[in-house]
Each structure stands twice: as structure tokens, then as C-alpha cells.
């Protein structure tokens, strides 16, 4: 039988991993379409014309309907009844709490973790040049200002970001934070609540969490149990 939902992703991309884990947890049937960003597979005209005009991952093609942006994809599939309610609540008040996080993270957690990762891991690989110590310091401060809010506000009184159980908010957040392992950042040192929460997220998502993070573990040389 022809699979109707195509999922384009790269496991080195944070939102790609988040959706990969969410799809697996949801028992969703989809066709795996890995895209190797490192080989520039997303930069071809063919990708732009036929797959995603923004030339990014993640994205989907649902029976001819093309959609980009991880959070928009999640909402679309949820509206189609493909994502279980415990991961993305249907009741609007509960859903609003999860949405609040999904909207909040872009310009905070996502930007600062991604910049840290890019500047310290990716750019040197591409250009052969390392960032200055002061640059690293500034990026770390920015990132930690956001991590402080995760630790002190989002995790102030609950086991997960938006309540007592795992939702997609936790999956998105954990995938962003895990990315910084590759830049040798160990979030667990300064942030005891984040540390304990990451363990809970992984346990609630496994085996899918470890599958999605296999390259992160490999590149960073740190498995989930390893000390950095």
C-alpha cells in the first residue's frame, strides 16, 4: 500500500528530531524521507520545487499537501486526529498551556541553543576557524539566561514543562537542549531541575528518544549515561 504521509527530516536538526519522536510515540504511519543537510540535499532546485520552498527540514507532504514549520505540522496532524491527546491536548485550555511554550521557545530557547551549537560546533567545521573566547562567553550567557527561565519558571512546580505529564512541549525543548551536547555544553552542571526533567523526558519517550538522538550521542561522544 502506498504511504500517503511523507516526512522529510535530518536527525541532526532539533525540530526534525522532535517530530520524529512525536510521530513514533503517536504510532503514526509515515514514509521516512531523510535529507542530509550536510550534503546540501535541501539546496537543490528539485527540493525547492517539489519538497519545501523554504529549503529546510522538517517538512511533510500529505497526499500532495506540502507543509513546513514543525509546530504548524504538529497542529495540522493533531487536527487530523493523528496525534494523541495526551501529547497535544484537545481541550483548549490545556492546549493553550502547551501552545504558550511552543510560541515562547522560538526566540528564547531555540535561538540561543542553536546559535551556541552553530558557532561552536558547526561553523568551525565549515570554515576551519574557531570562535574567540569572548564570543563563546557571550553566547553562553545568552543561552543561560534562557535556561534560567526554563529552570525557574517552566519547571518551578511541575514534573514536565506544562504539567504533570509529558507533552510535545517537553519533546521540542529537550531536542533543542540536547543539541548543545555536540558543542560540549553540559546543562546538567548548573541546572538540577533541567537535569532531572531531561531524564524523565527520555524515559517517557524511549526507545524513540535514543533512536532520534543516536547521531547526537555519537558526535558528542556522550551517551545519556556518560559523564561529560
Amino acid at each position: 500500500m502506498k504511504m500517503s504521509l511523507k516526512y522529510y527530516y535530518d536527525l541532526l536538526s532539533q525540530p526534525s528530531r522532535a517530530l520524529h519522536i512525536i510521530f513514533r510515540l503517536s504510532g503514526l504511519q509515515f514514509e521516512e524521507c531523510p535529507v542530509a543537510l550536510r550534503n546540501g540535499e535541501h539546496l537543490t532546485d528539485e527540493f525547492k520545487q517539489n519538497i519545501n520552498r523554504f529549503q529546510r527540514v522538517p517538512c511533510i507532504n500529505d497526499n500532495g499537501y506540502k507543509l513546513a514549520e514543525s509546530v504548524a505540522i504538529l497542529r495540522y496532524l493533531s487536527a487530523k486526529g493523528k496525534v494523541p491527546e495526551h501529547l497535544y491536548p484537545k481541550y483548549f485550555v490545556d492546549q493553550a498551556r502547551v501552545d504558550e511554550f511552543l510560541e515562547w521557545q522560538h526566540i528564547t530557547l531555540r535561538v540561543t541553543c542553536a546559535m551556541y551549537f552553530r558557532t561552536i560546533w558547526l561553523d568551525p567545521l565549515l570554515t576551519g576557524r574557531s570562535p574567540s573566547a569572548s564570543k563563546i562567553e557571550t553566547l553562553r550567557l545568552h543561552m543561560e539566561r534562557t535556561l534560567d527561565i526554563v529552570e525557574e519558571v517552566w519547571l518551578a512546580q511541575s514534573e514536565f514543562l506544562t504539567g504533570p505529564t509529558l507533552t510535545v512541549a517537553d519533546v521540542f525543548a529537550a531536542c533543542e537542549i540536547e543539541q548543545t551536547r555536540m558543542a560540549d555544553y553540559d546543562v546538567r552542571i548548573k541546572y538540577p531541575k533541567i537535569r532531572a526533567w531531561l531524564k524523565r523526558v527520555r524515559a517517557a519517550c524511549n526507545p524513540h528518544y535514543d533512536v532520534a538522538h543516536q547521531f547526537v550521542y555519537k558526535i558528542s561522544g556522550t551517551g545519556p549515561q556518560a559523564k561529560l
Binding site: 520552498r53 523554504f54 499537501y65 507543509l67 513546513a68 514549520e69 514543525s70 509546530v71 504548524a72 505540522i73 497542529r75 495540522y76 487536527a79 487530523k80 483548549f92 485550555v93 492546549q95 493553550a96 498551556r97 501552545d99 504558550e100 511552543l102 510560541e103 515562547w104 522560538h106 526566540i107 531555540r110 535561538v111 527561565i149 519558571v153
Partner: protein
């Protein structure tokens, strides 16, 4: 019966204006709760009780507190208190609007917001010197690379996601309109589609568009005169 919620906002904030215009256009009643960012009212303990992140916009509906503009509009839409024209119910149409709303954070919002803050907000409040011409150029380049994405990828139709005005257009236009304060105007030759689209958005949402931007218009004219 739907309750009248409290809406906390400042018309100097882009997402606040996008919501304010949507409420006016869609005839959503709300209890007016302006917050003066220039007086730092968002940083008081009192306001922290309203919104733990100390930002605008925010909503209080009974004892439910919510921040993040997009989470707010989705919540109100589910409660039947938000215009269906502006935020469609049809799954695919809505996903297109969501695609833009999620995309804009790290593209339009980040580049316009940064330029606005560095070139106008901080200097005018004597919190930082005016950036060098070279830095301004960099910021403008960044803004324009995003305008060019709108020009090429989002404007096949009259509006960003089709032939009708939606919240996507309001979120996009309020970010760009604010740059008038930096004496930045969208160049019709460089970005003909964006230029015409901005006019259409204004027309479609007036008189509220102009009302929401009246302070920005006055200030930007004063600043232009002062330069002469």
C-alpha cells in the same frame, strides 16, 4: 455565554498591535488594559502576577492567565471569540496561516525587532549609543533578506496565505510598519509585491491599522523633520 477577558498590551509592541487590530476588526470585545512599556510597567511585581514572563501581550480570562500572542489567539479562536475570517477553521487553510505564524518568529520578527531595538528603542532611551553606519547596514541587510523571502515565497496571492486577509498578514505588517521609526521604508522598486501587499493590509484593516500605528506615525514624522 462568553466572558469578557482582560487584554494587556502596549501599542508600541508589534504582537500587541496585531492582536488589537484583529480584535477590533473581528468585533471581539475585551477589557482594555494598557501597559506602558516606556514606563517599565511590565517589570513591576504587580504585573508579574498577571504575566510571569513580564511581557506584552497577555490575557487574563477569569483565573486563566496566558501569554504569547499566537497562543492567545488560538485560545480565543477555540472559545469562539476570534474572527474565523482572520484565523480560519478549515484544517488546511489554518495550517497555512500557522506555517506563516511559526515561520515569522525567527525571520521577520527577529530581524525587524532587532533593528528596531538597536536603531531606535535603545538610543532614544539613552540605553545604548546609536549603532555605527556599518552596523545599521548589516541590520538592514538582514531585514531585507527576509523581505525578499516574503516577496518570493509568500506573495503569489493578494495576501500571505491566499486571497483574504488573515492574522498572518497582520503579524507580518505590524513588524515591518514599526521600522518607520528607524526611518526605514520598504522600497517599491526592490520589493514591489511587499510594497503593494502592505498597502492592501492597511486598507483591509483600516481604520484600526492606522489607529494602532498612530503613535508610530507621529514619532517617525517628528524624527524625519528633526533630521532636516
Amino acid at each position: 455565554m462568553s466572558s469578557i477577558f482582560k487584554f494587556y498590551y502596549d501599542l508600541m509592541s508589534q504582537p500587541s498591535r496585531a492582536l488589537w487590530i484583529s480584535f477590533k476588526l473581528g468585533k471581539t470585545p475585551f477589557k482594555d488594559c494598557p501597559v506602558a512599556l516606556r514606563k517599565r510597567e511590565q517589570l513591576t511585581d504587580e504585573y508579574k502576577q498577571i504575566n510571569r514572563f513580564q511581557k506584552v501581550p497577555a490575557l487574563v480570562d477569569g483565573d486563566f492567565h496566558l501569554s504569547e500572542s499566537i497562543a492567545i489567539l488560538r485560545y480565543l479562536s477555540d472559545k469562539g471569540q476570534f474572527s474565523e475570517k482572520l484565523y480560519p477553521k478549515n484544517i488546511k487553510e489554518r495550517a497555512r496561516v500557522d506555517e506563516f505564524l511559526e515561520w515569522q518568529h525567527l525571520s521577520v520578527r527577529m530581524s525587524c525587532g532587532y533593528y528596531f531595538m538597536q536603531a531606535w528603542l535603545l538610543p532614544i532611551n539613552r540605553l545604548a549609543p546609536k549603532p555605527s553606519a556599518e552596523n545599521i547596514d548589516k541590520m538592514i541587510k538582514n531585514v531585507e533578506s527576509n523581505l525578499s523571502l516574503i516577496e518570493r515565497l509568500w506573495l503569489d496571492n493578494d495576501f500571505l496565505t491566499g486571497q483574504q486577509l488573515t492574522v498572518a498578514d497582520l503579524f507580518g505588517a505590524t513588524e515591518i510598519e514599526q521600522l518607520k521609526l528607524c526611518q526605514y521604508k520598504v522600497n517599491e522598486k526592490k520589493f514591489p509585491k511587499v510594497f503593494k501587499w502592505l498597502q492592501r493590509v492597511r486598507q483591509e484593516s483600516n481604520p484600526y491599522f492606522d489607529e494602532a500605528h498612530s503613535f508610530i506615525s507621529v514619532k517617525s514624522k517628528q524624527a524625519a523633520l528633526a533630521k532636516l
